[in-house]
């Protein structure tokens, strides 16, 4: 053991994990006090948001920070190491969760509240923040399981038939994915004798490249399954539409992004040499996901299932960045994750409102909503354009960076892979636009049901009462506003992307912050 100077400010690194965990514990004890539970959950996440902001600004100014649990030396103790990517993602996760919590008040049936939705949301947030901030691969596995347990609990809340069916599929496949992750951890420890990320960066180049490549392949499979990348994406559309809209918004906004983040971290920072070996696989995965996602969204008639396919399309965009592995591409991937967290959550929230107003989940039986409720239709329209990547909105910049990365990867030596990815991103944008405008037309613009003759106005529409309007529309409007503002004023976003990509490509700062470089092995 060695004493390390610890400033109270270093506690910001673990605050995003400890605070929601303690909050969840407290809420579990106060099972009976429903009203207090809600406000305490809201307060916890609000404080957490402030902590995340402080952490992100500190890192942006002074580089990565790290803290190793229990005063053990870094490669042996579990490190929490936050660099800019992790901290900003954690910040976005906390912000999204806060807005979803506001919306949850409207959406949750009483039975679900009795079963403790708020502790589970906090537990989920703890798992997500932990995954973004941890500097240890085994600890990442633990946070994955925390997320899995919390999301399983959230999915069965309410206990409808379709929910249980979705939970079984979601649970089995994700549990299998984490088992594969565990397998690769065993291989990593057996080969390198360490699981600390900074230590892996230092030791991986000296190890047998064949073994490292198989570790990378296993990680790619495990994280790809978590992120719902092609060809292991089938579970996402089969499960995300079943739980209440707020829960599926939270899961679609956060969980797949954790898988993508882990992929980003493992492929570009931890095992760059093995990424080269796997590059053809990554390209095929990226292209398949890019094209399959929006195509599925075009073919699907269930609203939230269609949105699930759009989530998959976005995963394709981030995998594209990982496959390109140049500065612009990685910046595109990092900013895309940020964009997807805000936009996809917003879309799911609007979808929940639409389902509440029409009482339907099938887009063929909706219609005529524009006349009845213009604000949700505008929000949906804006968010859809943002997902497709149309200029004034946030989604444009990540896609621009990816396109730039494609050209940068292609130009020097006529690399066919990069060109294919470049085409893939553009085709994805086009198909997403088609899927989005098709959905918008069906739900809002068309006067009535698909089969209705003479296009009579939809008679089944229900108006939202005042409370529902405020609680439901306010969070969505905030998200949409953020999407718009970051779209017209993209400097902070682009700055983040550039710094994040640089941090992933040159990991010296990260390794130095953890403090393994000077430590005895």
């Amino acid at each position: 053991m060695q004493d390390m100077a610890i400033h109270p400010v270093d506690w910001l690194v673990i605050l995003p994990v400890v605070l929601p965990l303690l909050g969840a514990a407290l809420l579990l004890m106060l099972r009976e006090a429903k009203e207090a539970q809600y406000w305490m959950a809201l307060g916890t996440v609000a404080v957490l948001l402030l902590g995340d902001i402080a952490l992100a600004t500190r890192i942006a100014e002074q580089g990565p920070v790290s803290m190793t649990m229990g005063n053990w030396l870094p490669p042996f103790g579990i490190s929490f190491t936050a660099d800019l990517v992790g901290a900003v993602f954690a910040l976005a996760a906390a912000g999204v969760t806060l807005l979803v919590l506001v919306y949850l008040r409207l959406d949750m049936p009483d039975r679900a509240r009795r079963d403790g939705v708020y502790p589970l949301v906090l537990l989920l947030l703890a798992g997500v923040s932990g995954s973004f901030l941890t500097g240890d691969l085994f600890n990442l596995y633990v946070w994955f399981e925390v997320m899995l347990i919390a999301s399983l609990g959230l999915m069965v809340l309410g206990g409808r038939n379709s929910q249980l069916d979705a939970t079984v599929k979601y649970g089995f496949l994700n549990f299998f994915a984490t088992t594969i992750f565990l397998l690769s951890l065993g291989l990593t420890y057996g080969t390198l004798g360490t699981l600390n990320m900074a230590d892996i960066v230092a030791k991986a180049p000296a190890a047998d490249p064949a073994v490292m490549a198989s570790i990378a392949a296993l990680l790619l499979l495990a994280f790809g399954m978590k992120a719902a990348a092609f060809p292991v994406n089938a579970w996402l559309p089969a499960s995300y539409h079943a739980p209440p809209a707020a829960v599926s918004a939270l899961m679609a906004g956060l969980l797949t992004k954790v898988g993508v983040y882990a992929l980003l971290r493992a492929m570009t920072m931890l095992l760059p040499a093995s990424r080269e070996v796997l590059e053809p696989v990554l390209v095929v995965v990226a292209l398949g996901t890019l094209i399959l996602g929006p195509l599925g969204a075009i073919a699907e008639t269930n609203l939230r299932r269609a949105l699930g396919f759009l989530v998959i399309g976005g995963i394709g965009a981030t995998v594209t960045g990982i496959a390109l592995n140049n500065e612009a591409g990685l910046a595109g991937a990092a900013t895309y994750v940020l964009h997807a967290m805000l936009t996809i959550t917003g879309l799911y929230l609007v979808a929940g409102l639409i389902e509440a107003m029409t009482g339907e989940t099938d887009t063929r039986r909706m219609g005529g909503l524009y006349a009845a409720a213009s604000l949700p239709s505008v929000l949906f329209f804006v968010l859809m354009l943002a997902v497709a990547g149309v200029p004034p909105f946030l989604g444009f910049w990540p896609k621009l960076l990816l396109v730039e990365g494609g050209i940068a990867g292609w130009a020097p030596n006529w690399d066919g892979w990069a060109l294919a990815l470049w085409v893939g991103v553009l085709v994805n944008a086009l198909l997403t636009l088609i899927a989005g405008s098709r959905l918008w037309g069906h739900i809002f613009w068309r006067a009535g049901h698909e089969s209705a003759e003479n296009e009579a106005p939809n008679p089944d529409l229900r108006r939202l009462d005042r409370r529902a309007t405020w609680l439901g529309l306010a969070p969505t409007a905030v998200l949409t506003l953020a999407v718009f503002l970051l779209g017209v004023w993209p400097e902070p976003l682009l700055g983040f992307g550039k710094q994040a990509a640089a941090g992933l490509l040159q990991s010296a700062d990260y390794v130095a912050a953890t403090g393994v470089a000077g430590g005895e092995p």
Binding site: W11, L22, A25, M29, R31
Partner: protein, 140 residues
């Protein structure tokens, strides 16, 4: 299941197992034992009670909801780590304080508090699952 013999023995068995679970819990850290295994023993004690008397009786006997107990354990474990904030050492650093109580040495430490927290987490969650299974999955 609820034969006369089983119903007579079950409360006795439960009591002995609960005491044993606390013994195993406090024995931990430097010897085999600890919060996880102690919590499991305690949860099996409750499960035996539930098998003999029915899930409802077990819930009543527990007095608190098992998940609230798990929450208490989680809070205890978390706070034992946060205590290091006051001593300027990293999260979860073990802090020890050894008393001399009438000639015998009593060691109080944050790892022990953490272990007690684990005990309650394991007891609470496993008891909740066991009770849900005993009521045949009608309350997921």
């Amino acid at each position: 299941m609820s034969t006369l013999i089983f119903r007579t023995i079950a409360p006795l068995l439960t009591a002995v197992m609960l005491v044993f679970s606390v013994f195993v819990l406090l024995r931990g850290h430097n010897e085999p034992g600890g919060g996880f295994i102690g919590g499991l023993i305690a949860a099996s004690a409750l499960a035996i009670y539930g098998m003999a008397m029915g899930g409802e009786a077990a819930r009543t006997a527990l007095n608190v909801h098992p998940l609230a107990m798990a929450g208490f354990g989680l809070a205890l474990a978390g706070l034992s780590g946060v205590l290091s904030l006051a001593f300027d050492v990293p999260f979860l650093t073990g802090l020890w304080s050894i008393f001399d109580l009438d000639g015998s040495e009593v060691a109080l430490s944050t790892p022990m508090v953490f272990d007690i927290g684990v005990y309650f987490v394991v007891f609470g969650t496993i008891a909740a699952v066991a009770l849900a299974l005993e009521s045949d999955g009608e309350d997921a």
